[in-house]
């Protein structure tokens, strides 16, 4: 039999509610407020529990809801013959509630002034990121400085670098990234050529598609695509690895031993990226040009020799160097962003996930900013601006 709360009203006596049947989650929960609404206002209520057969926390929830609803409408409620275990259970919830209330204390004062409170929240919401900006900028600058110091110590031969870790990072950043770099740069070269063919055809200048692909890959797309791949692979991996080490107190364990986490963890990763990104970029440049040749040969029936000749005519060593300088800067930026986000990471599973995400976002923002800045610099250097 399902739980039942039956109301009986007798003139002159307080209203009685008799609870009977099974009060379990499977049977559902009657509405305490609806029950009270049937009563004349201000009247007293007696709840008798002598008919209860089975019960679980559903009953406790109902009793509490009844107490709450009665308090809200200035009625008094008395309970009779509740199951003995229930009283213990209710006492437990009260103890928990009192302790929470005692700890929070000021919670109640916060309500009451909704408008000023909202305004306050708004201003605080606007101000908080600004207030956090300075300490965060300082943290960035500190890490950049510490990486620099570690690099200098490395050059001077005074850094204690775990070489086995360095090798592992090189393998991870370099050879293991080859397949994806191959695929992406080949396609980017082909797409560039395709877009070029469609436009250049209108002027009968299809031959120059080779120039477009060569310059495009060497100056811009090779470095950019490699960097994006590295941000997704290495940057996220660094942040996740360092974040997990942070969670696991491994970084604390290094610090207490007097070992510099930057030298021990960050340096191998930044070094690996600083070397692997330019090398992969060079490879991506080549793959992109080959990708362009597929379109040129396939769509324009250009002979491969003509195409590669035209590429060789169009590009110079300095173009390739510019791309490589960019890619070195990108590699350093990705290593920096990945390690920074990992070290900053909070000590929980979600925090590590956020660290990996924000490492990728930060890397890509830095890559594009650096790309813009370096492109401008190269133009100025060439006297074209």
């Amino acid at each position: 039999m399902a739980g039942d709360a039956r109301l009986s009203l007798q003139p002159g006596a307080p209203a009685r509610v008799r609870l009977s049947g099974a009060w379990t989650q499977a049977e559902g929960l009657p509405d305490a407020e609806a029950l009270l609404a049937q009563l004349p206002p201000g009247s007293a209520l007696v709840v008798a529990g002598d008919g209860i057969q089975r019960w679980d926390t559903t009953l406790a929830a109902f009793v509490q809801a009844l107490e709450r609803a009665a308090a809200a409408t200035d009625r008094t409620v008395e309970f009779e013959q509740l199951p003995p275990g229930l009283e213990r259970l209710l006492r437990l919830t009260r103890a928990g509630r009192d302790a929470t209330a005692a700890r929070k204390g000021s919670e109640v004062d916060r309500r009451g002034k909704p408008l000023s409170r909202m305004l306050q929240d708004l201003l605080a919401g606007a101000g908080r990121p600004l207030a956090r900006l300075l300490p965060r900028a300082l943290a960035w600058a500190e890490l950049a400085g510490r990486i620099y110091v570690a690099l200098v110590r490395l050059v001077l031969g005074r850094a204690r670098v775990p070489w086995s870790d360095v090798v592992e990072q090189f393998v991870e950043c370099g050879p293991r990234a080859l397949p994806i770099v191959t695929l992406l740069s080949f396609l980017i070269g082909a797409i560039t050529a395709f877009v070029g063919v469609v436009q250049l055809r209108m002027f009968g200048a299809e031959l120059y598609v080779a120039d477009l692909v060569g310059m495009g890959m060497l100056l811009e797309m090779g470095a950019l695509m490699t960097a994006v791949v590295m941000a997704g692979r290495a940057g996220a991996a660094f942040a996740a690895a360092l974040g997990t080490m942070q969670t696991n107190e491994e970084i604390d364990a290094l610090s207490t031993l007097g070992l510099d986490p930057v030298e021990f963890l960050v340096l191998p990763r930044v070094l690996a990226l600083a070397v692997c990104t330019p090398l992969l970029t060079l490879y991506a440049d080549l793959m992109g040009i080959i990708g362009g040749s597929a379109v040129a040969v396939g769509m324009l029936q250009m002979s491969p020799a003509t195409y590669f000749n035209e590429v060789a005519e169009a590009v110079s060593l300095s173009d390739a160097l510019k791309g490589l300088i960019k890619s070195l800067a990108f590699g350093l930026a990705i290593g920096f962003a990945g390690c920074l986000r990992g070290i900053e990471s909070g000590r929980s599973a979600q925090a590590v996930g956020r660290a990996a995400t924000s490492a990728v976002v930060t890397s890509i923002v830095l890559i594009v900013l650096l790309d813009a800045a370096l492109t401008m610099l190269f133009f100025i250097y060439d006297g074209q601006l």
Partner: protein, 262 residues
């Protein structure tokens, strides 16, 4: 209270710990004597591990100071702090083994860092420390390949690698079964007695507190300061009510309160 300076391994004076604006504990004052097994007790979330991190110099005090061997690590030159780091070993809550190294390499790293021993000598020492904690067979396994209890013991072996004067243990028996936990307590007693090591232990396991502690401090989460300092056995009778309750394993709820369940 007025023990000779040389008897004091660590002194905490007027320490207030805070994360930003949030105060964790304030006005902490106590001393850890040399050779003591000092337990930091308290309810969950009262700042026991935070206090430990202040004592090993990972976190900077908001106010007050922590003196280790008579000096404040935060006023030391960075090069000096390396020397201090040698003087103590830390077992972190989760073991904190470096995940890219084997158990043996983990124990070897502090030795390689701070001694000029040739590789064979280092590994002799590593073997000894691992045998001491009963992990001789797991030397070449990676942290992810061993159980939680083994990770704790490996962490202890690493903390002991340099034979430090002070060992800090952050909840050594948390997450261990009663037998492993008792074995670890025994190990702590043995090490303390045979090597004269000072222990600072964060714990809320009553069994091990009574088994190993010679001195203790109780941190209160509600008043945010220390309630009592002294040997737990004495505090169990003579401490403040809350500490007595803690040590008698009694909760508020068990005591009938008026107005409960009308």
């Amino acid at each position: 209270m007025s023990a000779a300076i040389d008897d004091i391994a660590i002194r905490v004076e007027g320490l207030t710990m805070a994360y930003g604006q949030r105060v964790i504990q304030r006005d902490l004052n106590f001393e850890v004597r040399r050779g003591a097994r000092f337990v930091i007790m308290g309810e969950s979330g009262c700042g026991k591990s935070t206090l430990l991190k202040h004592m090993i110099g990972l976190l900077e005090p908001s106010t007050g100071r922590v003196e280790v061997e008579g000096t404040d690590p935060w006023t030391m030159a960075p090069s000096e702090r390396g020397r201090l780091a040698r003087a103590f070993g830390v077992l972190y809550q989760s073991g904190a083994l470096w995940s890219s190294m084997t158990v043996a390499e983990n124990v070897a790293l502090p030795l390689e860092q701070y001694t000029d021993f040739p590789a064979e000598r280092v590994y002799e020492l590593v073997r000894l420390k691992l045998a001491l904690v009963g992990l001789a067979d797991a030397a070449d396994r990676y942290p992810s390949e061993i159980s939680g209890g083994m990770r704790k013991r490996a962490g202890l072996a690493r903390a002991m690698a340099l034979d430090p004067q002070v060992l800090f243990l952050d909840e050594p028996s948390a997450g261990l079964d009663p037998v492993s936990s008792a074995l670890l307590d025994e190990l702590i007693l043995e090490i303390g007695e045979s090597l004269g090591t000072t222990f600072v232990i964060v714990s809320h396991e009553l069994a091990s507190i009574f088994a190993i502690a010679t001195d203790s401090v109780f941190l209160d989460a509600d008043t945010k300061t220390q309630l009592d300092v002294g040997p737990p056995r004495e505090l169990a009778h003579g401490g403040s009510p809350k500490v007595r309750r803690f040590l008698a394993r009694a909760a508020h709820v068990d005591q009938p309160t008026e107005g409960a369940a009308t």
